[in-house]
């Protein structure tokens, strides 16, 4: 059975929304933004002349919006945690330990490798 262009577009939008949620959990930051935004745009385009979205289109928009929201919260909380690490010596030590266990380098070494100084970053 052949699908109408509207159904095809809605299905693509739904698939992208699922990919957005999946990538939020596996490859956060870049991919959820791409898939999520694209899913919302395609869902809107799938409306055609109708005033409202189909139920599948609405689900796609919600799933994509949730993926975008989770991704944004993850980025913001990571940045805030990083700023806290810079200002709290105790937390910095803990972070450094975990970093050393995982990657074999301390926090200071990591900053050095990135060409940064903790004193400069403390002003954040």
């Amino acid at each position: 059975m052949t699908q109408s262009p509207r159904d095809r577009l809605t299905r693509t939008s739904m698939s992208l929304a699922i990919l957005a949620i999946f990538s939020t959990l596996t490859f956060p930051v870049v991919f959820p933004f791409i898939f999520g935004s694209l899913s919302i745009v395609l869902a809107i385009l799938s409306k055609g002349r109708r005033e409202t979205l189909t139920s599948r289109g609405r689900t796609a928009v919600w799933v994509a919006a949730i993926a975008l929201a989770i991704n944004t919260v993850m980025i913001v909380s990571s940045v805030m945690y990083f700023i806290r690490v810079l200002h709290d010596p105790e937390l910095q030590e803990q972070f450094s330990k975990v970093l050393y266990q995982m990657y074999g380098m301390t926090f200071e070494e990591l900053l050095q490798q990135l060409g940064l100084q903790s004193s400069t970053l403390s002003n954040l």
């Binding site: 262009p5 933004f33 791409i34 694209l38 745009v41 809107i44 385009l45 409306k47």
Partner: protein
């Protein structure tokens, strides 16, 4: 009551025309963006020994590049207008202005390019004759000049937006007649078209979030809405 459609109905018409044709429009928009970006690189990498020659040549290159970009825009208008009238659109229609009635197309494109150049002239002069060491607040002045140039360019784009569609519909007319007709047609509807463009801002924010990927679809939607606007305008105006 106004006979003209509200923006939400124009957008609905645009979406309907895109259903089943998104592959063609997205590829066309991609090719258009790729060509304009490649051409823009010519301006960015254009340097010469003498300041005046550098300025003159970069202005000439800007003019030529924008004329070519406007010719491609005529092709894009052809694609979206075809879809609006339920006709088949082909990717090769992107080069429509280079193949059909190209003299008129070049004059219209060059005319718009000259106006765009006039808007951007202060930026060119500022970049050529001043450097960051010369004056304090260099970046702020540059930003202000660039923004004013950009606003001017947008105003020109809106004012002459209908010329490209008239060029497609009235092939026997001269460039001057089409430009005059375009400005006459849009008179009294500039605000409506501007609001139509503004209504796409949320979708363009999503495009930015998607690192520009979604802009291919959003641009298709914007162009289709512009074509729907033209169709509505022609349907309700004695031209």
């Amino acid at each position: 009551m106004s006979a003209f459609k509200e923006n939400k109905y124009l957008k609905a018409d645009a979406r309907e025309s895109l259903l089943g044709n998104l592959t063609t429009t997205v590829i066309s928009i991609f090719l258009y963006m790729l060509s304009t970006m490649t051409l823009s690189e010519l301006i960015a990498n254009f340097r010469s020994g003498s300041i005046l020659i550098s300025l003159l040549l970069s202005m000439v290159v800007f003019f030529v590049v924008n004329t070519c970009a406007n010719m491609l825009r005529l092709g894009l208008s052809c694609i979206f207008l075809s879809l609006q009238f339920g006709r088949t659109a082909r990717i090769r229609d992107l080069l429509y202005a280079f193949r059909n009635d190209s003299n008129t197309a070049v004059i219209i494109s060059a005319f718009i390019a000259v106006l765009e150049l006039a808007c951007m002239m202060p930026v060119f002069l500022f970049l050529t004759f001043f450097s960051a060491q010369d004056i304090p607040g260099y970046q702020v002045i540059y930003l202000l000049l660039f923004l004013s140039g950009l606003i001017g360019t947008i105003a020109i784009r809106i004012r002459y937006a209908m010329c490209s569609y008239l060029f497609l519909d009235f092939s026997g007319f001269t460039a001057e007649e089409l430009i005059r007709g375009g400005t006459k047609l849009i008179r009294g509807h500039l605000g409506r078209l501007f609001r139509l463009y503004l209504s796409f801002i949320p979708l363009y924010i999503l495009s930015v979030l998607s690192f520009g990927v979604a802009s291919l679809w959003v641009s298709s939607y914007t162009h289709a809405a512009e074509a729907a606007f033209y169709k509505d305008l022609m349907g309700n105006t004695a031209f």
